[in-house]
């Protein structure tokens, strides 16, 4: 009896010791200077898959195809990133996130990168502890309303009910806009984009607001798209882009330069069709550097030298991705607009690969 109880005490005591030891080990690691090798990159290599946070469903940006696979503009970026890091765009674990749980998921390490039409703002970049790696879509906040209301401008919406998704920058822009213009309105906050759209369809609201790109997508799903009009005003700047946790600069670099590679690939005319051919070597030193036949850009990033080849082979360059999911031949039928290359009148301008 004595032995039994004593050994019980010993077990508990040793368990406590182990707990404390773990704690101390962690603490010892914490204040150490940032490692030269990227912890995130090592984790992804070790597990063999990239954990990517995407929308729960937004036409054009993240949706399931007829085989049930996730696809879309934001999804394509993660596939390219998986190509760059692991050499295989299919090695991605998709994590669907709402507007509310996307940030905790990234902070806690549940995902490695968030590619979920997220607006780059100062407070998110600084206060929430994230690093935005670039902009893959320049958006703005727009409104959709019923044509039958006869309102031509947002300033005529005095007293209207407006459906909005909670926890987004759109919620804040909406409040700002109506305050500045001294118009009253009834906010109807809904948890997800899908439900907010349904509430608008049920005429719970007179208008519905979200990113202008999302509006076109939403309107295309209505039974009678012509009965709805998109208001001319765009009330905010919404630079959407992928983001990673702050503190792992090398991983942020990999994410940033994969995005830049896709944009630069469009500029240099590298497509998913000709990338293999071009990777054998060309007369253009910029293409050669990017595709790894000259220089050692891949090694600097901690990747293989053909990283960009795999990134581009995943879904093509920026233009191919845009046209496939958002462009003229899709139900969204979005113009390149601001998202055209700087050479073509847009503001898409990726830093040089050198």
């Amino acid at each position: 009896m004595k032995m039994k109880t004593l050994s019980g005490i010993a077990v508990v005591a040793s368990a406590l010791l182990i707990l404390t030891a773990c704690d101390e080990a962690k603490e010892a690691a914490a204040p150490a200077p940032a490692p030269v090798k990227s912890a995130t990159l090592d984790d992804i290599r070790a597990s063999g898959e990239l954990k990517c946070g995407i929308n729960t469903g937004l036409p054009g940006f993240a949706f399931t195809d007829d085989k049930g696979n996730w696809t879309g503009f934001d999804v394509a970026y993660c596939r390219a990133l998986a190509g760059a890091v692991l050499g295989d765009p299919d090695k991605v674990k998709w994590v669907n996130l709402t507007g509310k749980n996307r940030f905790p998921a990234l902070t806690s390490g549940e995902i490695d990168v968030l590619s979920r039409n997220t607006t780059w703002t100062l407070s998110r970049d600084v206060d929430l502890g994230f690093t935005f790696v670039g902009v893959n879509y320049y958006d703005g906040q727009g409104f959709i309303g019923r044509t039958a209301l006869g309102a031509k401008s947002l300033t005529e919406l005095d007293g209207a009910s407006i459906c909005i998704q909670t926890g987004t920058t759109t919620q804040l822009n909406l409040a700002d806009f109506f305050r500045v213009n001294k118009i009253s309105y009834e906010p109807v906050p809904i948890e997800t984009n899908e439900e907010a759209r349904k509430a608008y369809e049920a005429e719970r609201c007179d208008a519905y607001t979200t990113d202008a790109s999302g509006l076109a997508a939403t309107r295309s799903t209505f039974p009678d798209p012509k009965a709805h009009m998109i208001f001319p005003e765009i009330i905010s700047k919404e630079p959407l882009g992928p983001l990673v946790r702050q503190g792992d600069d090398q991983w942020a670099d990999v994410a940033r330069w994969t995005l830049n590679a896709l944009i630069n690939a469009e500029e240099f005319g590298i497509t998913s069709a000709n990338v293999d051919e071009l990777a054998k070597g060309t007369d253009n030193p910029e293409i050669n550097r990017m595709l790894g036949t000259e220089g050692s850009l891949g090694k600097m990033l901690g990747l293989n030298k053909d990283w960009a080849v795999h990134a581009i082979k995943a879904e093509g360059n920026y233009s191919e991705i845009f046209e496939r999911y958002l462009g003229k031949n899709t139900s969204l039928a979005l113009d390149r607009g601001l998202n055209a290359l700087w050479k073509d009148g847009g503001i898409l301008y990726a830093a040089p690969m050198r």
Partner: protein
């Protein structure tokens, strides 16, 4: 010889400490407490270390920052410049509003249906049975969505149902005239308060008199007359100092008056019917727990069934009813957090917005838990006090 005896003695004593139920209990408890404290200390430290690693700050200072978002129908003055703390307060008030309304509704519905289910009328008891079995076996979340879908399916604004041209029902809610205060309207409110106080006093006096003399007094009717009559009298005497703002149609909706949103109504209906079904069963069990002899004795004394129920059965049944009723009240309050699915801006919904805009998830979750815990403990404390008060006085 002596040596052996001593060791035996020592061994015996040690063994006694370990086999003795009391000392063994104490040892186990001390170990358990130590383990729990160590575990909590470990997770707290771990969290702090990891937060520090990701460069995140903790603390409640952010609550003073402006919220920058709007809230639908705040009960207190609020605009997008108000602080996060005030936004949380607005949410808390909304939670309290729907909880209190729900508790009142569910209690009335539950007691009525619980009594009616025992009715000898076949149709009534079967109707109540099907209500109870249906609502308590369907998840309350679905019921909230059901009521909301039903209410948003009401006629659109242009086809609003008009009630005497002063109140309007449409899929944006129920719009009723709102009072406009004028000088003198204070007196009407004072009269209302006086009426309520007088009604309570009269019912107390009537009960006492009945206990002493057995004479009854129509205290309910008198009370109702006082509560309604007194303010109306003052209102007329002072020359109608209270104006009414009639809702008027604008381009998109109605303006003016008071708007009760479909979200609030849907949530209230769902919580009321769902919890009402459980309360109905609790009331039924309470009534059935009172021995048949009690009602037979009451009938033998010539009491009518209505009076028997009110004066003999229910007071005794309450002893069985109150404890489970308390947990139903707690459930209702906690279930009100499901409001988020239909966009009613309660504590959880607004807290969620703040969590997202400020990124302080740990603090917000801590606030949520602290508030719901306090609400539940306060409800329990009140119900326990009430339970003690109505407990059978043993003679």
């Amino acid at each position: 010889m002596t040596q052996t005896t001593r060791t035996d003695d020592e061994r015996f004593q040690l063994r006694r400490i370990l086999t003795d139920e009391r000392s063994r209990g104490i040892i186990i408890q001390v170990i358990l407490v130590l383990a729990v404290v160590a575990f909590i200390a470990f997770i707290t430290r771990n969290t702090m270390v990891n937060l520090g690693k990701s460069g995140l700050t903790t603390g409640f200072g952010f609550l003073a920052d402006p919220a920058f978002f709007d809230i639908n129908q705040p009960l207190i003055a609020y605009n997008s410049q108000s602080s996060f703390a005030r936004a949380l307060l607005v949410g808390l008030l909304n939670t309290l509003l729907v909880s209190v309304l729900g508790i009142i509704g569910a209690t009335v519905l539950g007691f009525t249906s619980g009594v009616l289910r025992l009715s000898k009328n076949w149709l009534i008891s079967r109707l109540i049975t099907s209500y109870v079995e249906f609502t308590r076996n369907v998840p309350v979340l679905l019921q909230i969505l059901f009521w909301w879908a039903l209410l948003t399916g009401l006629p659109k604004v242009p086809d609003s149902i008009s009630i005497g041209d002063i109140a309007f029902v449409n899929n944006r809610g129920l719009r009723v005239p709102g009072p406009i205060t004028e000088p003198g309207s204070m007196w009407v409110l004072i009269a209302l308060a006086l009426g309520i106080i007088a009604a309570v006093a009269i019912s107390k006096w009537a009960r006492k008199r009945q206990d002493l003399t057995g004479q009854t007094f129509p205290s309910a009717l008198t009370g109702l007359g006082l509560v309604i009559g007194l303010p109306i009298l003052v209102y007329l005497v002072l020359g109608q100092p209270l104006g009414w703002e009639i809702p008027e149609r604008t381009r998109f909706n109605f303006r003016g008056g008071i708007n009760v949103t479909p979200e609030l109504i849907a949530l209230w209906l769902a919580l009321t019917t769902y919890t009402g079904a459980f309360i109905s069963e609790i009331v039924r069990s309470g009534i059935l727990s009172v021995s048949r002899g009690q009602s037979e004795a009451a009938f033998a004394l010539g009491l009518r069934p209505n009076l028997t129920m009110r004066k003999i059965i229910l007071p005794q049944a309450l002893r069985v009813i109150i404890p489970p009723l308390t947990s139903q009240y707690l459930n209702l309050t906690k279930n009100s957090s499901l409001a988020i699915v239909i966009g009613f801006q309660d504590l959880v919904s607004i807290g969620g917005s703040i969590l997202n805009q400020s990124g302080h998830s740990l603090e917000i979750v801590a606030i949520w838990m602290a508030i719901y815990l306090s609400l539940s403990l306060a409800t329990s404390a009140y119900m326990n006090w009430y339970n003690k008060r109505i407990a059978l006085v043993e003679r």
